[in-house]
C-alpha cells in the first residue's frame, strides 16, 4: 500500500486483443506528458483502446483534453476507444461542473472492467 504513493498514475498494459490504459489517483499536469505518450503508443498499436478511470480521484484539464483528443483520433482512424465502467460519480460531476458536458456524456461504459 505504501508503494502506491510512488506508483506512476498512468500505466499501459498491452495484450493480444487490446491496449488498456489505467489512470490512478490525481491525474494532472505532472503526468500529462506521460499520458500523452501512452495514448499515442496505444493508438499506434491499432488495437482497441480501453481506459480505466475507476480509481481516479481527480482529472485535470490537461488529462481531460488528452483523453478527448485520443478519443477523437480513435474515431477518425476507426480504432475502438472506450472508457471502462465503473466511473466514479464525483469524477463525472466534476467534469460536468467544469463544462465538459459533451465529454461526460460519452462516459458511457462499453464493457465491464475485468
Amino acid at each position: 500500500v505504501a508503494l502506491k504513493e510512488f506508483a506512476v498514475p498512468v500505466t499501459l498494459e498491452r495484450s493480444e486483443e487490446l491496449s488498456l490504459i489505467r489512470l490512478d489517483g490525481a491525474v494532472d499536469i505532472t503526468c500529462a506528458a506521460e499520458l500523452k505518450s501512452l495514448l499515442i503508443e496505444a493508438l499506434a498499436s491499432g488495437k482497441p483502446v480501453e481506459a480505466s478511470l475507476e480509481s481516479v480521484t481527480d482529472l485535470d484539464v490537461t488529462a481531460t483534453q488528452l483523453l478527448w483528443a485520443a478519443r477523437r483520433e480513435a474515431e477518425t482512424s476507426g480504432v475502438g476507444f472506450a472508457l471502462l465502467d465503473p466511473i466514479p460519480e464525483p469524477l463525472t460531476s466534476a467534469l460536468l461542473h467544469a463544462g465538459f458536458e459533451d465529454f461526460a456524456a460519452t462516459l458511457v461504459p462499453a464493457r465491464r472492467a475485468r
Binding site: K36, L39, I40, Q65, L66, A98, D102
Partner: protein
C-alpha cells in the same frame, strides 16, 4: 511525478508578485489618504487585495487568503459607496499589510505574522465594514441590495475565457476560476474543445480548452474581470452583457457617467507589456559570465595583436565588438527604475509624520530614472536615514513652521536624474537647515577639528558623517543632523559614490548622492609602475603629462607640477605603494579630477584603455580603501583598481598631519584612515 521544488517555485513566484502588489497597495493607500474619493485608487486597492487573496489561496497560503478576504470585503464596501474612507481605515489597512507581508515571507526566512495583532486588526476591520465574523461577506453579490452606482441590477453576462498557453504550467487551475465566478451568481458553463489539436501535435501542458459561460449576477463587468485578474495576461477574455432593452441601456449609461466622470480603465496593468520575471541570482550569474568573457576577450585581443595573422585579428575584432555589445546589453538588463524604492518611503514619511506630530508631504521627481539593481538594493538604507533625519531634526512642527511664516505642511523631495556615467539622487527638505556653528563647536568638543581651524561650509557639513558624531550627546537638538549619517557615508562609499550637502539656515537642506550607474564594469586606463599594473577610472581622468627628472629637480623635492601655470600636487605611486624599482627617465602624471581639486598620480607608463570587470577584493582587504577592487588583465595578471578620490584624501591628510608633526613620510601616506 509532482516535485516539491515545483510547488516551491510557484510559492516563490507568488511571493515575488505579492511583494510588488504590497508596495503598490501601500502607495495607493497613502495616495488615497490625500484624495479620499478617488474611485480609481479604491478600485486599485480592491483589486490588489483581491489578487493577493486569490493567488495566495491558490498557492496554499490559506491564512493569508482568509485574512485578506476581510480587508477585501471592507474595500468592496468602500467601492460600493457604503463605507467612507477614514484615516483610521487607512492606518488599519496599512498595519494589516504589514501582517500580510509577514505571512507572505513566512517560510521564506521572514518574521512570522503576529497572530494576536492579526485578530485585533480583523476585529476592527469587521467592525468598520459591518461584517460579522461568520458571514462569508462579499461573494454573495445576489444577496446585496441593488445599488445605483456601477450596476447592481441582476443581469446576464456572457463570458468567454480562453486561458493563455502557459496558464497551466504556471500552476493556475482554470476550474478554480469557474468556482470563483459561481460565487458571484448563477453560472452555466460549457467547455469548448474546438482548439484541441491532434494528439501528436498537442502540447500536454498547455490548455487548449476555452469556456463559454453565462453568469447571472448583480456584479458589474469590473467585478467579473477581477476574478481573472491574476491570469489576464496572455489569456483571451471577453465579458459582455447580454443585450438589454433600450431604456435600460440609456439608464445604465447615464448612471455610469454620473458615477465616473473621468471614465476609468477596467484594470490597472499596462496593456500588452510583455516581460519576464527572472530571479536576480540568475541575472547576477549572467553578468558574472559576461564579465569573464570580457576578460578572456581582452586576452584574445592581446594575443591577436602579438601575432601577425590578419585572419585571426579579424575574428578577434569581431569578438571584441560582440562582447562589447553583450556587455552593454547585460548591464541594461540590470537597470531598474528607482520608483519602487522611492514609493517605499511614502509609508515611512506617513508613519513618522504621525508619530512626530508633523505635517509632511513627500514629492518625487525622476522616479523613472534607471540604475543598476545592485545600486538600488544598496540605496534603501541611506535614503531612509536621510529622510528620517530630515523628518526628525530638519522639519519643525506645523505650529513652529507657521510661526516662522512657512507653509505648515513641510515637503520632502526625492529626486533622481542621470549625469554622465553617474546618477544623482537627491533628498531635500524645506526645514531648518543645518546649524553649522553647532556642528563646528561639537566637532571641536569631540576633538575632531582644532579650535582655531578655518573650515569651509562643505568641510563643516562633512563632519556630520564622522562615525559617532552625534550619538554621544543630544547634539541633534541643536545641530539638526547626525543619527545614521555615518551609515549613509559608509554605504555611499561602498557604492563608490559621493555625498554633497547644501544647506541654508531656515530654508532647508538638500543632500545629493552621486552614484555610479553600475558597479560591475568600469572604463579604465591601464598604467604601470615597475612590474605592477593599476587601473585608474577613466571617468575622472583629465589628461596625461610627462614628468622628467629635470622637472622633479626644479620643484625642489616638492611634489607639485606646473601644468599651464596651474600648480597640481601629485602622488608618486611608486613611493605610495613602496615599489622598489628605479623610475624611468620620463614618467607620466595622470591628472585626475577629485573632490579635493585636481591631483596627479605619477606612473611609469600609460598602457591604454581597458574595459575592466571589477572583482571584489573580499572582506580581508576591506580596510584598504585606496583600492576599490581588482581586475584580471588579458595576460592573466591582476591589476588593482585605484580610487583616486581616496588616494587624494589620504595624501592631503598625511600632508596636514606631517606639517603638524614632522615632514610627511611615504609610510604615513600609506596608512589609510584614522584622523
Amino acid at each position: 511525478v509532482p516535485t516539491v521544488s515545483n510547488a516551491d517555485q510557484f510559492k516563490q513566484s507568488f511571493r515575488e508578485e505579492a511583494r510588488e502588489i504590497l508596495v503598490d497597495l501601500e502607495s495607493a493607500l497613502l495616495e488615497l489618504n490625500e484624495n479620499r474619493a478617488d474611485q480609481e485608487l479604491i478600485g486599485r486597492i480592491f483589486r490588489g487585495l483581491h489578487t493577493i487573496k486569490g493567488s495566495g489561496a491558490m498557492f496554499g497560503f490559506d491564512d493569508l487568503a482568509a485574512f485578506t478576504h476581510n480587508l477585501e470585503t471592507a474595500f468592496d464596501e468602500v467601492r460600493n459607496g457604503r463605507l467612507q474612507v477614514t484615516p483610521e481605515l487607512i492606518d488599519l489597512t496599512l498595519s494589516a499589510l504589514d501582517q500580510i507581508r509577514a505571512m507572505v515571507e513566512e517560510g521564506a526566512g521572514g518574521p512570522s505574522a503576529d497572530a494576536a495583532s492579526c485578530t485585533q486588526i480583523l476585529a476592527k476591520v469587521r467592525q468598520i465594514a459591518g461584517v460579522s465574523p461568520g458571514q462569508p461577506a462579499k461573494n454573495t453579490a445576489t444577496a446585496q441590495p441593488p445599488v445605483a452606482a456601477g450596476g447592481g441590477q441582476v443581469r446576464d453576462w456572457h463570458i468567454r475565457f480562453a486561458p493563455g498557453p502557459d496558464m497551466l504550467r504556471d500552476g493556475t487551475n482554470p476550474l478554480l476560476l469557474l468556482d470563483e465566478l459561481r460565487q458571484l451568481g448563477g453560472l452555466s458553463v460549457r467547455a469548448s474543445m474546438a482548439a484541441v489539436p491532434p494528439l501528436g501535435e498537442l502540447d500536454p501542458e498547455r490548455c487548449y480548452v476555452a469556456w463559454d459561460m453565462v453568469l447571472t449576477t448583480a456584479a458589474d463587468a469590473d467585478a467579473i474581470r477581477d476574478v481573472f485578474i491574476f491570469v489576464e495576461d496572455g489569456c483571451e477574455l471577453t465579458i459582455e452583457p447580454t443585450p438589454l432593452c433600450e431604456a435600460e441601456v440609456t439608464a445604465r449609461a447615464l448612471d455610469e457617467q454620473r458615477a465616473q466622470p473621468g471614465g476609468r480603465r477596467s484594470y490597472d496593468k499596462p496593456d500588452n507589456v510583455s516581460s519576464l520575471r527572472v530571479p536576480a541570482a540568475k541575472l547576477d550569474q549572467f553578468v558574472d559570465l559576461v564579465g569573464e568573457l570580457v576578460t578572456v576577450q581582452a586576452r584574445l585581443s592581446e594575443i591577436a595583436a602579438r601575432r601577425d595573422d590578419p585572419e585571426f585579428a579579424e575574428v578577434s575584432e569581431e569578438i571584441e565588438r560582440l562582447t562589447s555589445a553583450l556587455r552593454e546589453n547585460s548591464m541594461n538588463i540590470r537597470m531598474l527604475p528607482i520608483r519602487a524604492t522611492f514609493e517605499k518611503f511614502r509609508r515611512l514619511v506617513h508613519d513618522l509624520a504621525r508619530d512626530l506630530g508633523k505635517d509632511v508631504e513627500l514629492t518625487m521627481e525622476g522616479a523613472d530614472t534607471e540604475l543598476d539593481k545592485t545600486v538600488i538594493d544598496q540605496l534603501g538604507d541611506p535614503l531612509m536615514h536621510l529622510i528620517r533625519n530630515s523628518m526628525d531634526h530638519g522639519i519643525s512642527s506645523p505650529e513652529v513652521r507657521a510661526a516662522h511664516g512657512k507653509r505648515s505642511t513641510a515637503t520632502i523631495h526625492l529626486s533622481a536624474r542621470h549625469s554622465g556615467a553617474s546618477v544623482l539622487i537627491g533628498v531635500s527638505d524645506d526645514g531648518n537647515g543645518i546649524d553649522s556653528e553647532a556642528v563646528r563647536s561639537r566637532a571641536i568638543e569631540k576633538g575632531l577639528v582644532a579650535a582655531d581651524a578655518q573650515l569651509t561650509e562643505a568641510e563643516t557639513f562633512a563632519l556630520i558623517f564622522q562615525p559617532g558624531f552625534s550619538t554621544a550627546k543630544q547634539v541633534t537638538d541643536v545641530s539638526g543632523r547626525g543619527v545614521g549619517m555615518d551609515v549613509v557615508r559608509q554605504r555611499v562609499d561602498s557604492l563608490r559614490g559621493t555625498i554633497d550637502i547644501v544647506s541654508k539656515p531656515g530654508l532647508g537642506t538638500s543632500v545629493t548622492l552621486r552614484l555610479p550607474l553600475t558597479l560591475a564594469i568600469i572604463d579604465g586606463l591601464l598604467v604601470s609602475v615597475g612590474d605592477a599594473c593599476f587601473v585608474l577610472p577613466l571617468a575622472n581622468t583629465l589628461e596625461c603629462i610627462e614628468l622628467t627628472r629635470e622637472d622633479t629637480q626644479r620643484a625642489n623635492g616638492k611634489h607639485v607640477a606646473n601644468v599651464r601655470d596651474e600648480l597640481i600636487p601629485y602622488i608618486r605611486l611608486r613611493e605610495h605603494f613602496n615599489i622598489r624599482t628605479e623610475p624611468p627617465a620620463i614618467e607620466q602624471i595622470m591628472v585626475v579630477e577629485t573632490e579635493e581639486g585636481r591631483f596627479g598620480f605619477v606612473v611609469d607608463q600609460v598602457l591604454g584603455n581597458c574595459q575592466t570587470v571589477i572583482k571584489n577584493l573580499g572582506r580581508f582587504y576591506r580596510h584598504v580603501q585606496v583600492v576599490s577592487g581588482a581586475t584580471i588583465l588579458g595576460n592573466g595578471t591582476v591589476a588593482l583598481i585605484l580610487d583616486p578620490q581616496r588616494l587624494a584624501q589620504d595624501a592631503l591628510r598625511a600632508a596636514v598631519q606631517g606639517a603638524r608633526e614632522r615632514p610627511a613620510s611615504a609610510h604615513k601616506v600609506l596608512r589609510p584612515g584614522v584622523p
